[in-house]
């Protein structure tokens, strides 16, 4: 089944200078391998295109089911220079919740927010 990432993982963003880091953490260890395989640094950068202007590096901590995406050139020049209303990029992590993933049907019960699930 194809689902939005919001059913598979949670996320938080933080700022340092003009770099945003966005952690993406699976809700369940059974879901994590599918997340790790499909949400590569390249796909992440493409999914944030128009906002992230620099390189994206991905760091993984498998036993915590967690990945950390470090996106350079994501904050309009930095918190104090940015013209974006959300100049810290606190809401940037929400974007990745819309990324689409393929998950085996038999893992449906592991997903979060089932009442929001479209299929």
């Amino acid at each position: 089944m194809r689902v939005l990432l919001q059913h598979v993982a949670h996320a938080r963003s933080g700022d340092k200078g003009n770099t945003s880091n966005i952690s993406v953490i699976a809700y369940d260890p059974e879901l994590y391998p599918y997340l790790k395989e499909q949400l590569t640094a390249e796909r992440f950068k493409a999914f944030y295109s128009g906002v992230v202007t620099g390189a994206v590096n991905r760091y993984v901590i498998d036993h915590l089911w967690a990945m950390n995406f470090v996106a350079q050139g994501a904050l309009g020049g930095g918190v104090s220079r940015s013209l974006c209303l959300d100049n810290y990029g606190k809401s940037l992590s929400a974007r990745v919740l819309a990324f689409e993933l393929d998950i085996p049907d038999d893992l449906r019960s592991r997903l979060r927010g089932l009442s929001e699930l479209k299929n």
Binding site: Q6, H7, H10, A11, R12, G14, D15, K16, G17, N18, T19, N21, S23, I25, Y27, F47, Y48, S49, G50, V51, N57, Y59, I61, L64, A66, N68, V70, G78, V79, S80, R81, L83, C84, L85, D86, K90, S91, L92, A94, R95, R112, G113, S115, E116
Partner: protein, 451 residues
Amino acid sequence: MKPRIRVGAGSAWWGDRIEPAALNAKQGNLDYLCFETMAEATISAAQVRARRDPTFPGYDTYLDDRMQAVLPACLERGTKIISNQGWINPEGAAQRIVHWLREFGARGVKVAAISGSLITERALELTDTILENGKPTSSLRENLVSAEVYLGAEPIVAALQQGANIVVSGRVADPSIFMAPMMFEFGWDALDHMRLGRGNGIGHLMECGAQVTGGYFADPGFKDVPDPWNFAFPIAEVEPDGNATLSKVAGTGGAINLMTVKEQLLYEVHDPANYITPDVVVDFTTAQLEQAGPDRVRVTNLSGKPRTPTLKVSIGCTEGFIGEDMFFYAGPGALRRAQLAKKILEERFKIVKLQAEEVRIDFLGLNAIHGAMSPQNQPEPYEIAVRVAARCKTREEAVKVGREVDGMAVSGIGMTGKRVPHQDRTREIIGVWSSLVPREKIKPTIQFFES
């Protein structure tokens, strides 16, 4: 040696709530209460303000509120306080704290002020290269407002060793504020990178306060949090080996679970195996997390690597001004009117010859937050705010943004909602750059005051 110490958070930034600090002081049974009150630009902003406003004392503007809220309970319990509320005037902050101690009838309480992080005058001779762009730091000479080194835990430990009950500092790396009590109580050596890695890692989990107890977390139906209007700040019960359990005062809202801890573990971290602090390089990738009870998470096996030979320097520079304002549309056709308004502003900025490095006109409700990555072909919202911002070299140029929005009142288009211009619609930009300074060039000083 104590078998464990209880270290609580009192604030995660300047504007943080004060009740949870008072609650930690009263009910946290704390050995230490730690306050973090700075953002990247806090010191530079304080320098700018001090230049213009001679009455500004140069320390946390909420120092009085915070100290009044926590001092009585801390004095009663014997809780020591570690705080970076000194900003650009740690001595002044210490003297003000002494004032409050006397008000509360406490005599003989020692308050230490730690200075030495401010290196504005020496910054260009002590540093070489701007980390962000590789240019020489001397290129910042004209606009430099302030430069400060991120100090580590060592001067705080020294103050505690000399009998301080309260330590107030200028810029100290956030996790170090929380680790200093661990080093002092457990006798950790400043070069013991395994223990310091653990202690700094725990400090990192604590320094954003409620962000590990359920704040910046809730998402209804996905990540539900009980009573999110009543968060507590975290408490770390730390053992001599640096392993710790995170908890909070019972009966409060929020949650401490594996999800809140993992999110905070990676917050503002780049390479999680190499998180550079003044004291140690933390490795978060070895962490073991375990739900040890309701709202209790045990954090073990964090690790560390030897500290770097340099300390980070933050250099604040004046870089111009941002002008910003907004106005509103609603009802059928809100979007078409907003689009015409955008066109009018673009033409007006040409007519008044706005000199700007960047101009941004957003439709709040459609694309103001996620900008160019917002989905196309969204349904038209019922309400839209047109929000315009421009970054300019001078205030005179930035003022034009608000003045052109003023013009939208009677010279704009139909059914434009607008605020009365009751506030300053320009703000100064203090850009922050980073560099490195050799560790041995920085000599913090400690001054003691007594109530």
